[in-house]
Amino acid sequence: MGTSRRNLSVAFIAGLALSASACTQFAANAPSVPQTTVFPVSDVGGLIQGLYELIFWMALVVFVGVEGFFVYAILRFRRRAGDNTIPAQIHGNTRLEIAWTIIPSVVLLIIAVPTIATIFRQDAVPSAGASGEPPMKILVTGRQWFWEFRYPDLRGAPLAVNEVHVPVNRTVVFELRSADVVHSFWIPRLGGKMDVIPTRVNHLWFTPLETGEFFGQCVEFCGIQHANMRVRLYVDTAAEFQNWAARQAADAASPASPQAQQGAVIFQRGACPACHTIKGTSAGGTIGPDLTHVGSRSTLAAGMLQNTYENLTHWIADPQGIKPGSKMRYPNDLPPSPGEAALMAAYLQSLK
């Protein structure tokens, strides 16, 4: 075997190793990739990450070893032009077979033991988080195509849609239910996902360890707008969270500006209350998302649009154009006029 060929295979193996570690580096762009799975900010996320890293590095070693040896074998035993000899007809080697049955078994055992330990740890909700308080329960309902959150333990049982707030360092337990089809609830940086299945209640818990805004979305195919069923989780300080929860528990603000007042009238007069609730008014529909504090949300249509006056006007005027298949429909598919939409947007924007 010539030196050049040896250099080639060494270079190839080095290349494999380099590209593999490059993978981890590319994935390592936490700030620019809001749904990264490898920069956890919760206890559960950390558990998973530890296990993932163990398996990843073992897999990488196996990968480099196997592929490297494979490429080496191909290059080393390449047939030269004109060479027509028949190599020794070796049929096998039982000792080798036993070796490569046992060694992978041992490797898998090294993976399996912490895996099973982690399964049980991930399953058991701790009695208290880092803050020492008992876990906070949040009821989650997945719907085509938005998320509803209720806080039964808090005063006034506040409710939130698509944007859920939790206090830092306190364990939260999400009780997951579906109102229609199977969804899956996932905020990658906080930990693994859990399916949301009609007729069943599933649980997902974690203790957030950093404040901030974290992205997530539905990850089980749930129909035409599955892609636009996003969720944001805000980890607040304890005080911020208390304020937020108190605001969410309150009734809707009364419209102040003339436009908002007109918008409120149009809203109540139209078909809107059949589907939407605005606490403190007569609107009590439960098909669509609760709009009591819609003005305080940062996005519209489950994360599709920034919550601006213009976007909201557009959304009210043409929901099917923005989100085809959405359940937001008007009787006989007759949307409000642009003027009416703008007034209603003004009203809804005022519902902070």
Binding site: F26, A27, V33, Q35, T37, I48, L51, Y52, A59, V62, F63, V66, F69, F70, A73, I74, F77, R79, D83, I86, P87, A88, Q89, H91, G92, N93, T101, P104, L108, I111, A112, T115, I116, T118, I119, F120, Q144, V181, V182, S184, P188, G191, G192, K193, M194, I197, P198, T199, N202, H203, Q217, V219, F221, G223, I224, Q225, H226, A227, P324, G325
Partner: protein
Amino acid sequence: MATIAAPVERRGLLARPVAPRGIWAWVTTVDAKQIGILYGATAFIFFLIGGTEALLMRTQLAVPNANVVGPGTFNALFTMHGTTMIFMVVMPLSAAFFNYIVPLQIGARDVAFPRLNAFSYWVFLSGGLLMHFGFLIQQVPDVGWFAYANLTENAFSQRGVDFWVVGLQVLGVGSLAAGFNFLVTIINLRAPGLTLMRMPLFTWTTFITSILIVLAFPVITIALVELMFDRLFGANFFNTANGGDPILWQHLFWVFGHPEVYILILPAMGIVSEIVPVFSRKPLFGYPFMVYAVASIAFLSFTVWAHHMFTTGLGPIAASFFAASTMLIAVPTGIKIFNWISTVYGGSVRLNTPHLFALGFIAMFTIGGLSGVMHASPPVDTQQQDTYFVVAHFHYVLFGGSVLALFGGIYYWFPKITGRFLGEGLGQLNFWLMMIGFNLTFGPMHFLGVDGMPRRIFTYPAEMGWGLWNLVSTIGAYAIGLSVLVFIANVSKSLRAGERAGSDPWDGRTLEWSISSPPPHYNFATIPVVHGRDAFWLEKYPELEGHAAAAPDERRDRTAAHDAGEAHGHIHVPDPSYWPIATAAGILVAGTGVLFAMPLLPVGLFVVLVGVVGWSMEPVNG
């Protein structure tokens, strides 16, 4: 079905067609080789359709917020892409090789039930058509190839689901018929001396795959029946309003679905196990262990299904069980990879196109296997399930695995089937373009998955940071498309003016290389007698294996033997028959009836009945 066979002297409802020509020859054929070609050609057309669907999806996802296709279309695209590639491309392409190669490898003249074999093909075609009838009325299946309940209930879906249910049901009938046929063929039609532990590995994987088909498809059949009853008759299997549990669908689907994965990959492993020894000029390393590995993978595949459901809340005990059984599968899989590499090691390695594809398979399948071990761990899987990481994983297994191997198989056996080589230059171009395109397409999907991009989304906002890798992936997909065009050019050029291949162009080891290319209608003039593994190699080089060298006149020129056999005219092959296609047509009509006009259902069933009766009354002549 054919058990009530009439005595030979009686005539059936219709006289058997006698050696027709042209289109009728194909319509009435019961020759496994012709059926193999039908399977291959049909599957390739579906491959182009499924590939086009993939390219459309990749185009839509190339940049954030793209608007090439709408959400409804996108959902239909990924549903049909998955369903097509699994049931109408990889399975029938494997079946093409089962049909063409297995009888040759075991020294048989045909399969055990030639008419049932033709029936399998026509039913497969009917199922494929039924599945695509939705395009006629713009009601394309759009609930994913897994069709998770309860999204498939009438309350949440449209008529597209019906096409999926009926089409898949019919495809399943074809697969089952083929599965039974090859099971019996391999048990009963082996040449004298061809004991089980002497069978070529492709024959072995066909055998094991047939067992998997026979045991796994009944489960999806029942799941589909339940779904169909829900949709047509108001049953409640998956209707949550009346106590139906969507999780039951997932269990039934994956009890079938996981063995199905091995139905897709085992034939590919068999092909690779044929190619690597030939082009390394060494016997397959550790043959018995390879056989045990295939068998244990098949057995274990029935115990791991719930690893597709780690995020459904199985509970820690069940999750631990299925994690452990899943990891166990990595052991026999590893054995296979190590044995392939050891076959190369110490060999005399020719890097012709078939071998490149086979070696590419080994390299890529290893990656798919390793990522598979990652989500075998349930906690890790909760971060990877339903993300592009999983998409990357199974494409490394099913494209880097199955498809590369099947292309390798085409390059390898094309000279046998047509008597002509595929062009080596275009072949190499085909391979490298496909290899690079494949890695560009699916490699970055690992990063996308780690970056938290879910599967089955038709769009994503720019702020998610997924734009770059999606663009790379789309470019790669077009490179794969280009490589397929190169392949088409190669085939059409070779069919017209390819270099002639002799009966044994690669210095092959198994019996198919002992007869002319293309093989005669009756395969073997005289049924060979097998003295060991790699029967033909042994016959050519007895001294290498310590056998006494055969006397020169005993090194038979089988082509000459064929001419002799033909001259004698005493070789019996089964006559063609109208009944397989007639019976399958009845199924097509019945299926069409369920989908469009119920009155057609009894008509179709009546045609099936007439078909079965005609079939069983048909003289069984040799």
